[in-house]
């Protein structure tokens, strides 16, 4: 068990592609961290560098305080559960799991004992004699996890572990993986592009994009306090509405006026200081679909913005409204019971405590 520390890690491939840029990240001992990002964000390169399948271009990596930059994969005592499972087809499940122990010349009776222990933990004792080709997806997944765990790794990495499973199995394995982490207490890193997986399993989430670490934190921190527009837009489903505005001073009141002239919103006091401090020319206003109230068009509230219904779908548990506000389309999650038709006039009210402001020039949160 160990802490994993990445300091100023860079990965540049031949041909000059910068896959990872100045990555600083500490995964605490026993922590379950998710590395989350769209494809091509550098998360897989990071994972491969941690495991040792890819050279580190520059920077330092420590596992349990030990510099591992130059160590071979097997000397780092890390384990990786591959996205494709990568089981050894000629070997039985038992031999697959025992393979790494044999490499270390662990005594025979101990191998049997340890394989049995992880097999019990993963509930695969009944398939130990079978070959990988005879197994279903979920079973292969378990075998691949067992193979990774049997060596008692300091750091346990999983690369998109659930992406090849069907929906029901995926939900089940999410719970299993979480239980496994609780049971083993290993430092665990989950690489995924699926925020639901990250949220469901990990204690902290590291969001990456274009090779750069954007934000690390609990789901609550990342969801409620995104540091930039990318994180704001990437986390949350449906994604956050982003509306370009300009601050307008009128008397002693500060307004945000949409660039397309579609609305004017009195700025809540709590945000006023931020806007004044930043001196940003254009401000992107972000608000999540579930933080918008749909009001009757006769509403007199000063921060209710008139909009026109484009589409409304009742999805059973919730309704999804797309409304035109100026030239922009705003997505709103509503009660499924509303009865709205295309062209209806409504008023939208952004919950003042749930409004996010970003400097449009830098995309950073104010």
């Amino acid at each position: 068990m160990a802490e994993l520390r990445l300091e100023h890690i860079y990965k540049t491939y031949k041909g000059g592609v910068e896959a990872v840029k100045d990555l600083n990240l500490t995964v605490k001992d026993g922590e379950f961290l998710a590395l989350l990002g769209p494809s091509g964000c550098g998360k897989t390169s990071t994972l491969r560098m941690i495991v040792g399948l890819e050279d580190i271009t520059s920077g330092e990596m420590y596992i349990g305080g030990r510099l591992v930059n130059r160590l071979e994969p097997n000397q780092r005592n890390v384990a990786l559960a591959f996205e494709t499972y990568a089981l050894y087809p000629p070997l039985s499940v038992f031999d697959n799991i025992a393979f790494c122990l044999r490499a270390r010349s662990v005594p025979k009776h101990e191998i049997a004992q340890r394989v049995r222990r992880v097999a019990e933990m993963l509930d695969i004792t009944d398939i130990l004699d079978r070959k990988p080709a005879e197994l279903g997806g979920g079973q292969k997944q378990r075998v691949s996890l067992a193979r990774a765990l049997v060596r008692d790794p300091d750091v346990f990495l999983m690369d998109e572990p659930l992406s090849h499973l069907d929906a029901a199995l995926r939900a089940h394995m999410r719970i299993e993986l979480k239980r496994l982490h609780a049971q083993t207490g290993r430092t665990t890193i989950l690489v995924t592009h699926d925020q639901l997986e990250a949220v469901a399993m990990a204690q902290r989430i590291a969001v990456m994009n274009l090779g750069v670490l954007q934000q690390v934190g609990t789901f609550d921190e990342i969801y409620n306090h995104p540091v930039n527009e990318f994180v704001a837009g990437f986390i949350g489903e449906p994604p956050m509405n982003i509306l370009p505005t300009r601050p307008v001073q009128e008397g002693d009141k500060l307004w945000l006026a949409a660039l397309d002239g579609g609305f004017r919103l009195p700025l809540p006091d709590a945000l006023r200081a931020k806007v004044e401090r930043s001196k940003a020319q254009t401000i992107d206003l972000g608000v999540r679909p579930i933080h918008i109230e749909t009001l009757d068009s006769s509403s007199e509230a000063v921060d209710a913005l008139p909009a026109t219904v484009q589409t409304f779908e009742s999805l059973g548990e919730e309704g999804q409204l797309a409304a035109q506000l100026g030239d922009s389309t705003v997505l709103v999650v509503t009660s499924p019971l509303l009865e709205l038709e295309r062209g209806d006039a409504v008023k939208l009210r952004f919950r003042p405590d749930r409004i996010h402001l970003f400097d449009a020039a830098t995309q950073q949160a104010l």
């Binding site: 994969p73 996205e83 000629p90 393979f99």
Partner: protein, 287 residues
């Protein structure tokens, strides 16, 4: 419903019948060869299927002809030619395996400059008819002292066996996910152990099929062995010429020799049959 079932049955019978006909058509030359090898000289040019079989042809080529005619040489040396064929063909396949397996792996896994050109060059050995290169080769062989040596024949057979092996195995290696090798690396195995205990078992069908085909091609090769080999390394294919002389053509003995010469191929093919169907069809599509 009823008619559909009987239709299916009719189709099955028809296709079985067609396959049977084709089977007879394809195997008839073999059957004829066996029949001829059992005929005596007097019956040789008849088309009789019913005759008194004799083993004298086999006896003649294996142990010498008791009624040896002058001018017809070396027929009793068949066992030696057979051994020669065995040595150069197995030698060629073994050398091709030693060189071709790593080459196929490298072509499948690594990215390097000129990779496709190199692969194509190997393949191009199979394009040109052997006759095109045989004269310069024979000049070279005489200068290098490779003429009429086992090494010389084994070497030149690489033109036949190596491209086949490389191209079939390459597609097999490409089909094995690199993840598997990386998993084994993380597990702490040296590359040669990974190669031996994980990769080779996975490509075994391809290996068996390609090696068998290479063996057959080498065994059947005529022109290289004829021109580059002398009496020391004469193979069964070349020795078949010895049954025809200006005075007499011993087609029955030639047939007997051919029957014996086909035994190693048949034995090999049967012994690795279970890999063969998968291996060949796979290689055909991919390679």
């Amino acid at each position: 419903m009823q008619s559909k079932v009987s239709n299916n049955r009719l189709a099955a019978i028809l296709s079985d019948g067609f396959l049977g006909l084709y089977f007879i058509f394809a195997l008839f030359p073999l059957l004829w060869m066996v029949l001829v090898s059992l005929k005596s000289g007097e019956e040789l040019f008849t088309t009789q299927f019913v005759f008194t079989p004799t083993l004298e042809n086999y006896q003649a080529i294996l142990f010498g002809d008791p009624r040896a005619a002058a001018g017809v040489v070396a027929r009793q040396e068949f066992p030696r030619f057979f051994m020669n064929s065995l040595i150069v063909s197995s030698g060629a396949v073994i050398l091709s395996l030693l060189v071709g397996v790593p080459a196929a792996y490298a072509l499948a896994r690594y990215r390097f400059r000129g990779k496709e050109d190199l692969a194509f060059t190997f393949l191009s050995f199979r394009f040109a008819p052997e006759l095109v290169v045989i004269i310069p080769l024979s000049v070279l062989y005489r200068q290098l002292g490779l003429y009429d040596t086992y090494w010389g024949i084994i070497w030149v057979y690489q033109l036949v066996t190596l491209p086949l092996l490389i191209w079939v195995l390459r597609s097999y290696f490409e089909d094995v996910s690199p993840d598997i090798e990386q998993a084994a690396m993380i597990d702490g195995y040296p590359w040669w152990r990974i190669f031996w205990s994980i990769l080779l078992p996975l490509v075994r069908p391809g290996l068996a099929a390609a090696a068998l085909l290479a063996f057959v091609f080498a065994w059947n090769n005529f022109i290289f062995a004829l021109v580059l080999g002398g009496s020391n390394v004469q193979t069964v294919t070349v020795s078949a010429l010895g049954y025809i002389s200006s005075a007499q053509a011993f087609f029955n003995r030639m047939a007997a020799a051919s029957v014996l010469a086909s035994i190693p191929q048949i034995v090999l093919a049967l012994s690795i049959q279970r890999y063969l169907i998968r291996g060949l069809s796979f290689g055909a599509v991919k390679g």
